[in-house]
């Protein structure tokens, strides 16, 4: 049977296979056909090859002229390839130049290895030194932070100890005038003869000015000067009370701003005053 003698149905199956548009039933039919007549594979290949000829009819277009070199560069072995090897192999095995060349190559190789190794060691040492410096800086910073925290803790413990152990009077304060937003509390400690102020929005003062603390006590006809202070970064402020009378419960306490050189006989600008005790 020649190929032209094949039933037209078979050619339909071959063409449908090459085009990829066989139905499942046709696929099964073709499979049975090929199994029964393996020689039909050749005809099937002819259909596939005929379809694959289509691009030959395209108008030929040339890619970029450098594409060839790009492809060849991509497949070229690394330029570090051992090109000296064929030259060495071409020299008689036991000739003197061979040993000189071999010795030289080995020496050069050893020096190269040592050089590379030395460079790596230097780089490693430099990196380690830099890392050590950074670690030392971090450690110093951490130590400073710890010292600061310890100082704050000491101060807080001192305050707490004083508060626990002393007779105390506590006053709530509010700002007035230019410092209307200021607020805080002040504690006078009888046993310690000192006062502790916790204030907010109490600004620092010029070097020639100072805050002064005054108390309205029964034993004095006028406001009693009870010490002065300068605020420090919202930390509790402590100062010594100049008189035992300052530790007695007061009807009111005041804070003024005064020149450092001003007399303590009278106060300057009023900036805070105590609030009446609740109840």
């Amino acid at each position: 049977m020649t190929r032209s003698d094949f039933p037209e149905k078979w050619h339909d199956l071959f063409a449908g296979y090459a085009l990829g548009n066989l139905t499942p039933a046709e696929q099964a039919e073709l499979a049975q056909l090929l199994q029964a007549t393996p020689d039909l594979q050749q005809t099937l290949r002819e259909y596939e090859a005929a379809l694959a000829q289509l691009p030959q009819a395209l108008d030929p277009q040339a890619p970029a002229s450098d594409l060839e070199e790009r492809i060849l560069r991509a497949v070229q072995p690394s330029p570090v390839s051992p090109t000296p090897v064929p030259a060495l192999a071409a020299v008689p095995l036991f000739s003197r130049p061979y040993w000189w060349a071999l010795g030289g190559a080995i020496t050069a190789g050893i020096w190269l290895l040592l050089g590379v190794d030395n460079l790596r060691l230097r780089q490693a040492v430099t990196a380690q030194t830099q890392a050590l410096k950074r670690a030392q800086q971090d450690l110093t910073l951490a130590n400073d932070t710890i010292q600061d925290l310890q100082q704050q803790q000491d101060q807080a413990e001192t305050v707490l100890t004083s508060l626990r152990n002393s007779q105390k009077a506590v006053y709530a304060l509010e700002g007035t005038g230019d410092l209307a937003t200021a607020a805080g509390s002040v504690v006078t400690l009888a046993g310690e003869s000192k006062a502790i102020l916790v204030a907010h929005n109490l600004p620092p003062l010029p070097a020639d000015q100072v805050y002064r603390f005054w108390a309205d006590v029964e034993t004095a006809e006028a406001l009693m000067y009870c010490g002065e202070f300068t605020p420090q970064d919202n930390e509790p402020i402590q100062w010594s009370l100049p008189s035992v009378a300052c530790t007695a419960p007061a009807a009111q306490v005041l804070i003024t701003i005064d020149p450092v050189t001003a007399s303590t006989e009278s106060g300057g600008e009023l900036v805070m005053h105590s609030l009446p005790a609740p109840g």
């Binding site: 005929a50 000829q53 009819a57 492809i71």
Partner: protein, 195 residues
């Protein structure tokens, strides 16, 4: 003990057969790849351009095809001509790129499975110059009815399904199938001596 394979001399490259060049490529002879590239760059690039539409994509695919030939030359000269193989894998990969998702055409696999024995050292297609071959294929296509030529080219270059082709051409699905098969049967008859 087997002897070391001989490499092709540079002045023999241009006259070497595709089979010899591919053997040299398998031995790592870069100049053999250069010769293969010069023989088929236009065919591969033109097909890639036809399917992918943009020169950049086509160039990228052309590079991929020849690098693939170098890195893992799955092509077996006994199973068909190199130009046919290159067209198959170029079209397959180009359509894969068009369909970033979806079923992958299995033309390459089919090629390996259904071309088990082609031992002729110099098949007619390989002997024919590409110019002559192009002339034959153009003439064969010209013998088809315009509608047959159109449907064959859409099916081949665009990788559309039968229903997509029917929608595009506004013809019944059955007509797509009948017409495309009829066209391929004619083409195969006209190019029988080339295939």
């Amino acid at each position: 003990m087997h002897s070391k394979p001989e490499t092709l001399a540079p002045d023999c490259l241009q006259t070497a057969t595709d089979r010899d060049l591919l053997t040299a490529i398998q031995q790592g002879q870069v100049e053999a790849l250069r010769e293969i590239y010069r023989r088929y760059e236009r065919l591969v690039y033109s097909l890639a351009c036809k399917v992918l539409k943009t020169p950049e994509e086509a160039e990228d695919l052309t590079q991929e095809i020849f690098l693939k030939l170098w890195q893992s030359p799955n092509y077996n000269p006994d199973r068909g001509t190199l130009s046919t193989y290159l067209c198959l894998i170029t079209r397959s990969r180009a359509i894969d790129r068009l369909r970033s998702q979806g079923a992958r055409y299995r033309l390459v696999q089919r090629w390996h499975h259904t071309h088990p024995d082609r031992s002729k050292a110099n098949p007619p297609l390989e002997q024919a110059s590409l110019g002559e071959q192009a002339h034959r294929v153009r003439a064969a296509l010209a013998d088809l009815a315009p509608a047959e030529q159109e449907i064959l080219e859409i099916a081949y270059y665009e990788g559309l399904s039968q229903s997509q082709i029917a929608q595009r051409l506004e013809i019944p699905l059955g007509t797509v199938k009948t017409r495309s098969r009829q066209a391929l049967k004619k083409l195969r008859r006209l190019l029988q001596d080339l295939t």
